[in-house]
């Protein structure tokens, strides 16, 4: 299934919640509405001629223009095709619908995105930090993140 | 001096000999284990301390002695301190009945074998005490596991000892060894000095019994593949996690002494103790000690060899082997040997 066909199917099925797409890029991506990601992913996962059963990588992104985002790299083992989904959200109240019920691996990836960028995934079973200590101030991978001078009384060098 | 005082001094002196023997033997086995393990793994153990690391056992012992032996704050102090000595007493008492030579034996009691089985379960109490007292989750695991293991391996040990006693007919280890005197063909392993026909019939059963006795004694001593109580990879160090310094040395010494006791008993019961395999060619009081210690060291080497080859069993597999494999086989052997002896 070429990215163009995938895009057309999705556009046909979900219409307005497929916001934009860039199909001529090195790896074509499609941007979807962040409040309907779960439905779209369930559709992509269960549809026989899609069968995206393998979520390769879910990475948080800071687009540095006031928007955060999550990038889903999906691939199908049976059909051997890949697609990239994007879901952006405003920096003030970053909320994206969680897909951990569709793919088990999304559970830890989403917790990492929350830990690094502060993106809260609604419907996630255990939304807490995974890498940094729980009381770490701020979200480290945001572009405007300042390393705190002291952390729990310990001087942070450099 | 009054006669009672004299006899007390004599018994104290006589009982001191095995203690000296244990210390010497522990040094030798420490060195043996270190070197055998190393060369089996294509590496060379200590080469620096003395020629080829000969002084390393002394260095280890000295290190353990001068190390600060801490007692965990929340530990049950009295039991914590007592545990290693109970374990050592359990092991050391067994030395009383091992006949080193035909003239020297700790105490020539007629219920030697019975006493041995009773005393060796004292070790379990010591380990349980140690595990419970150090108030550490891992040690509790180690202690409970070792209790289950020791208890369930008492049965096969006792049964196989019973079969040996059935063949020899007496509980006194000195008499058992005298029964097997006169060369290799009189050993219980090969049917004892009975007429050839019964010997041939006995042969398969005594071999199986000896093999089972050796396996069960491996479990008694907590050696691989049954070293679950102090499984390094799971329970950190099992019941002796919180021990350090002198107390840890005591546990360590008890384990090595137990290794010797177990192999010495197996040798005395099945391989003719201090009797020489060539009839009366090299037999005599001094030769007797050489033969007993030599045969026992062969089995100590076998235990070391097994330790550095085999992985560890899981607790339920441990129980399975004891109850469902060793014990049924022994009942069959018991019945068969009894039948043959009666015929």
């Amino acid at each position: 299934m070429t990215p163009q066909e995938i895009y057309d199917n999705l556009k046909a099925k979900f219409g307005e919640s497929i916001l934009e797409a860039k199909l001529d890029a090195l790896q074509p991506w499609i941007r979807v509405d962040e409040h309907r990601t779960k439905e779209i992913c369930v559709f992509l996962h269960d549809e026989p001629n899609f069968r995206f059963d393998y979520l390769m990588c879910l990475s948080g992104m800071d687009y540095n223009n006031g928007a955060l985002g999550a990038v889903y790299h999906l691939s199908s083992m049976s059909h051997k095709h890949k697609i990239v989904l994007r879901a952006n959200c405003p920096k003030e109240n970053p909320r994206i619908q969680s897909v951990s019920s569709v793919w088990g691996t999304a559970d830890w990836h989403e917790r990492e995105a929350f830990d690094m960028f502060g993106i809260v995934f609604d419907g996630h079973p255990d939304m807490r930090r995974i890498l940094c200590p729980d009381d770490y101030p701020g979200y480290p991978l945001r572009k405007d993140f300042k390393v705190p001078e002291f952390y729990n009384g310990m001087k942070v060098p450099y | 001096m009054s006669p009672t005082l004299e006899s007390i001094i004599i018994t104290v002196l006589l009982s001191a000999i095995p203690l000296v023997f244990i210390l010497l033997y522990a040094l030798v086995t420490l060195y043996l284990e270190m070197k055998v393990a190393a060369h089996m793994q294509d590496r060379v153990a200590y080469m620096r301390t003395g020629w080829h690391g000969v002084l390393q056992p002394f260095a280890d012992i000295l290190k353990l002695l001068q190390k600060e032996d801490t007692i965990p704050a929340a530990a049950d102090r009295f039991l914590f301190i007592l545990a290693p000595y109970i374990v050592f007493v359990g092991t050391y008492a067994a030395f009383a009945i091992i006949p080193f030579t035909n003239i020297y034996i700790g105490s020539n009691i007629h219920l030697g074998v019975f006493f041995l089985i009773g005393v060796s379960s004292l070790v379990v109490i010591g380990i349980l005490m140690g595990g419970w007292a150090s108030n550490n989750k891992w040690s509790i695991f180690g202690a409970i596991r070792s209790a289950a293991q020791m208890v369930s391996y008492e049965i096969p040990t006792a049964l196989s000892v019973l079969i040996a006693v059935m063949i020899t007919g007496s509980l006194n280890l000195q008499e058992i060894t005298q029964f097997q005197e006169g060369g290799i063909q009189n050993w219980v392993l090969f049917g004892g000095p009975l007429p050839l026909s019964t010997k041939l019939m006995l042969l398969p059963f005594t071999f199986i019994t000896f093999l089972i006795l050796f396996t069960a004694s491996l479990a008694e001593v907590n050696r691989t593949p049954f070293d679950l109580p102090e499984a390094e990879s799971e329970l950190v160090q099992g019941f002796n996690t919180e021990y350090s310094g002198m107390r840890f040395a005591m546990f360590y010494l008890a384990e090595y002494a137990n290794m010797f006791v177990v192999s010495a008993v197996a040798v005395t019961l099945f391989l003719g103790g201090w009797s020489s395999p060539f009839g009366d060619f090299m037999s005599g009081p001094v030769w007797g000690a050489f033969w007993l210690i030599g045969k026992a060291m062969v089995f100590v080497f076998l235990q070391i060899w097994i330790r550095w080859t085999l992985p560890r069993l899981r607790v339920d597999q441990l129980m399975y082997t004891s109850w469902k494999v060793l014990t049924p086989f022994l009942f069959v052997c018991l019945f068969a040997v009894g039948l043959i002896l009666v015929l």
Binding site: Q27, L55, G104, T105 | T309, R312, D316
Partner: protein, 395 residues
Amino acid sequence: MSESRVIPTNYVTKPEDLKTSSGRTLRTDEMIINMGPQHPSTHGVLRLEIVVDGEIIVDAIPHIGYLHRCFEKHAEHMTNYQQVIPYVDRMDYVASMNNDLAYALAVERLLKIEVPERVEYIRVIMAELQRIASHLIAVGTFGIDSGAFTPFLYAFRDREFILDLFEMTCGARLLYNYIWVGGVSHDLPPTFIEKAKEFCKYFKPRLVDFNNLLTYNEIFVKRTAKVGVLPRDVAINYACSGPMLRGSGVDWDLRRDDPYSVYHKLHWDVVVGKGEVGAVGDCWDRHIVRMREMEQSVRIIEQALEAIPAGNVQAAIPKRIRPDHGEVYVRTETPRGELGFYVVGDGTASPYRVKARGPAFVNLSVLPEISRGAMLADLVLIVGSIDIVLGEVDR
């Protein structure tokens, strides 16, 4: 051994279940143990909070992050793409050649550079040598977890050969910084080819010895059969990869199914777990997949050593790396599984965002799923069979 051991599902004894003879309820409770960051068999600083009922594990909650070194933050502050490679080395410090390869392929795909044939072959040889070295560690520590100490030392003795080969080529033994964007830092030294052939000849009988000592040992088999069974669909749903996935019977190997470099020119077959001993997807299967993968890697190395062409290895190394706006996700088959790099370029010399998708991070997330109902001694083996390296889990 008891074959039909049904793992009890409701092993949690409720207080009202147990009545003593006198009618009093015997209250039993679960114990929470911290198989903490400092433990002999967690392969690094992983903390497992285990809820234990007796020896049976009710639940195992992994806590990670003890070795988090902010790889992604560092990558964003480097002045050029080349400087990220020493950091990529230190991510999965046991298979750092494969990490370099994954990162270099990602940036080359972003810059659309073609790499000379000789470099491709050198990279395949180095990656496969590193796979053998990494599997040797995985298999050796798996032996220690089950209690057999000697196989670990045999594994390390053989691994020294590979480290000498690496040191001869790029000067370092563990963290190489050898595969660069667009080529490799040094060409192969003259004595490398026949020394590598000598290693291949030396290594094959060693594997047979290792298998007889550990893999086919009945105690080891009984300890690992039917333990930590990972069913096929759970493996795919949790995006496991590498020996974890192939152990569960899924015939999936990125070197063949998502081909990169010159793997398509070499003949070798993908090893899949068939459940010869216990069930498909148990610890023993993952172990035997690693053992047989090493044999395949030796086959690949021998073919690559024969077919390596001449050429200048530094031809395609770009002087200034300035990719235009764009992003790329490239994945490669490392010894632990699928390592993918999502590199986003924004026109400047330093990368805008580098996300590393570590296979160990993903494989570890399936641990609670497969360790419920196992015994404490099994949990140690399950963690060993997943073969995690905490540098890659925590990044």
